[in-house]
């Protein structure tokens, strides 16, 4: 069924809605593809479709006459042959709760956990006719940039199985790039959608903070976490975003995009202004990545775009601010894993505090412990102002830098990641080196603005010999808050001109071009 899995999501949904192909046949083709997962991309795969628990949230326990329609029961699944995503199977990062279906967030502490409710983002997909194809592997609690922090083993990059797919949405990115899913849902706190999309040669979109509900998305850093799509092309990302966005009564910080998002159609960049941060010229960047970035800038100019330099003077402090703020919020959010209400408990009849400490010692992995320690330290008495307070002020400055830049340009563009996919185990001994992977993606997260990574070309890894096969390089475009439509239009036009998938030819893994 190679032809079915070659279709984009938009094409497949249209054919299913028109009756040209059957939803069941399409789903079966993808289930077969997903079953061939040799990347460790999936932690759970649908067999007969996701099972359903008893509780639907639809009014069982409200007092008679007093209950209103519960928001938990909203967005009921549509039949699989209707809706804008009719019959489309979606791989869902294992950080989204799915009723009755195991949800681990990549952690041992949630092994075997079957949530009693489903995340709003997932409900919106199924209400649009989509179905959950599987739950994807990830760095534990979304903390990582290589997927090596999963309690369930690392995910392999489909371009080169000895390399990482990026993280934390590494399973989602590898599944889409490796031809194991037509599209996937991920989350991005400091780059966790964009960086793996970059390393796997696909499209990854982090929407504006608040565009999509976080209800049912297991919390890492609540002021930064945002859900978004990973897809083969920009149009599919737009299609999914249109379904996912919206204000949700179950997430009071959600805002939505106001509906009316359309599929991008723009083919030129005439009159659009692109800003390249001056700081990129000075930053650490692999030569191969720089070459692809500069070629992409030239392509923007050929399409009629106007490229100028902008300054983001505080962006270089993004990593410092992020690695205070995100661990601080995480240390608070992860306090809930205490062995009492759900998840694992270290056995024993000792006192309560010993039970907490043992459960958390056994349930959490090294990186999660490190971030909890970092965050607890930054929030502790005597250090709060120096670390957390100062980081929040840097955040204000970074957001202000973007405001100023967007007074002069429509978009800010950077490489997504300073390197192509690195080797498994290459950076695991140096947490700081791992954190610096997020250099280009963290500033947008701190500012809460939307950003997309599109594949722009191939580059050999640094230090590889002549003739080493190329690995994908991502190009990041950021727009002002709630500027998703313009962002997607620009990304679509550039994507068409770059023709990444066509240029990469048979090397593209979803066409079966893996080499290792």
């Amino acid at each position: 069924m190679a032809e079915l899995t070659d279709l984009t999501v938009a094409e497949a949904a249209a054919k299913i809605a028109a009756g040209a192909i059957s939803a069941a046949e399409y789903f079966a083709a993808w289930r077969e593809a997903a079953a061939a997962d040799d990347l460790n991309a999936y932690l759970w795969r649908a067999d007969g479709g996701p099972s359903s628990g008893d509780w639907t949230g639809a009014g069982e326990s409200a007092p008679a006459g007093e209950g209103v329609e519960t928001p938990y029961g909203a967005n009921a699944p549509a039949p699989a042959d209707s809706g804008p995503l009719a019959g489309v199977p979606i791989a869902v990062k294992d950080i989204f709760t799915t009723e009755g279906v195991p949800t681990t967030a990549g952690s041992k502490i949630l092994a075997g956990y079957r949530p009693p409710y489903t995340a709003t983002a997932v409900r919106k997909l199924t209400a649009a006719g989509a179905r959950v194809l599987g739950k994807t592997n990830m760095d534990e609690f979304a903390m990582g940039s290589s997927n090596e922090n999963s309690a369930y083993g690392p995910v392999r990059n489909p371009w080169d199985r000895e390399r990482v797919p990026g993280g934390s949405s590494g399973g989602s990115a590898a599944a889409v790039a490796g031809g194991l899913a037509p599209a996937a849902l991920g989350t991005d706190t400091g780059g966790s959608i964009r960086q793996p999309a970059s390393l796997c040669g696909i499209v990854g979109l982090k929407p504006t903070y608040g565009a999509i509900s976080r209800f049912g998305m297991i919390a890492f850093a609540s002021s930064l976490d945002q859900c978004g799509p990973l897809t083969r092309n920009v149009a599919d990302a737009a299609l999914l975003l249109g379904v996912l966005e919206g204000k949700d009564p179950l997430d009071s910080t959600s805002v939505g995009l106001g509906g009316g998002l359309s599929l991008p159609s723009r083919e030129d960049l005439t009159g659009l202004r692109f800003g390249v941060p001056k700081e990129i010229g000075e930053g650490a960047l692999d030569p191969g990545v720089r070459t692809v970035f500069e070629a992409t800038i030239a392509r923007i100019e050929e399409l009629g775009g106007n490229v100028t330099e902008v300054v983001l003077p505080h962006a270089e402090h993004g990593i410092s601010a992020y690695y205070v703020i995100a661990p601080a919020e995480a240390s608070s959010n992860l306090a809930r894993y205490d062995g009492v209400r759900y998840g694992m408990r270290a056995a024993g009849d000792e006192d309560l505090v010993t039970m907490y400490e043992e459960t958390r010692a056994q349930g959490f992995g090294t990186e999660v412990k490190r971030r909890i320690m970092l965050g607890t330290y930054a929030l502790s008495s005597g250090y709060y102002d120096a670390y957390y307070g100062q980081a929040q002020k840097v955040r204000t400055r970074i957001a202000g830098d973007f405001d100023a830049a967007f007074g002069e340009v429509d978009f800010v563009v950077t490489p997504t990641s300073p390197s192509v996919a690195f080797g498994l185990g290459e950076k695991t001994d140096d947490p700081l080196a791992m954190y610096l992977n997020d250099f280009f993606t963290v500033p947008m997260s701190l500012a809460g603005i939307p950003a997309i990574s599109i594949p722009a070309g191939l580059a050999a890894p640094e230090g590889a010999g002549d003739g080493a096969p190329g690995l994908p390089v991502g190009f990041q475009i950021a727009a002002p808050a709630f500027g998703e439509q313009q962002l997607l239009e620009a990304a679509h036009a550039l994507e068409g001109a770059l023709g990444f998938a066509a240029a990469a030819g048979d090397a593209v893994p979803w066409r079966g071009g893996d080499r290792a």
């Binding site: 928001p71 903070y209 309560l352 980081a391």
Partner: protein, 97 residues
């Protein structure tokens, strides 16, 4: 920069038991990370408003109407030790029983 005593203190605050090897590793790694983070300590940000959240919302309240709640048996289904409609946990006092 972060010594062993501080690591043990913070681990206690965070309700994490660390073994001896973890304490050693954590002291070195946290010192390295904080060494990088410390670069923001020298920035002059006097008078800059801190940003805790990028969406400027205040007092988002829903209508004061009852919603359906999760039935107790559903809420307890994932508990490690459900007990007579409640979550059971060890006593907060050592040797209480």
């Amino acid at each position: 920069m972060i010594d062993r005593e501080q690591v043990l203190h913070v681990a206690k605050l965070a309700r994490l038991r660390l073994d001896e090897a973890e304490v050693e590793a954590m002291a070195g790694e946290l010192s390295g990370i904080l060494g990088h983070v410390d670069r923001i300590a020298d920035l002059d940000l006097e008078g800059v408003e801190p940003t805790s959240h990028v969406v400027h919302l205040e007092n988002v309240l829903r209508a004061d109407q009852p919603w359906t709640s999760m039935p107790p048996e559903v809420a307890l289904a994932s508990a490690p030790e459900p007990f007579e409609g409640a979550f059971r946990a060890p006593s907060p006092q050592a040797d209480a029983d």
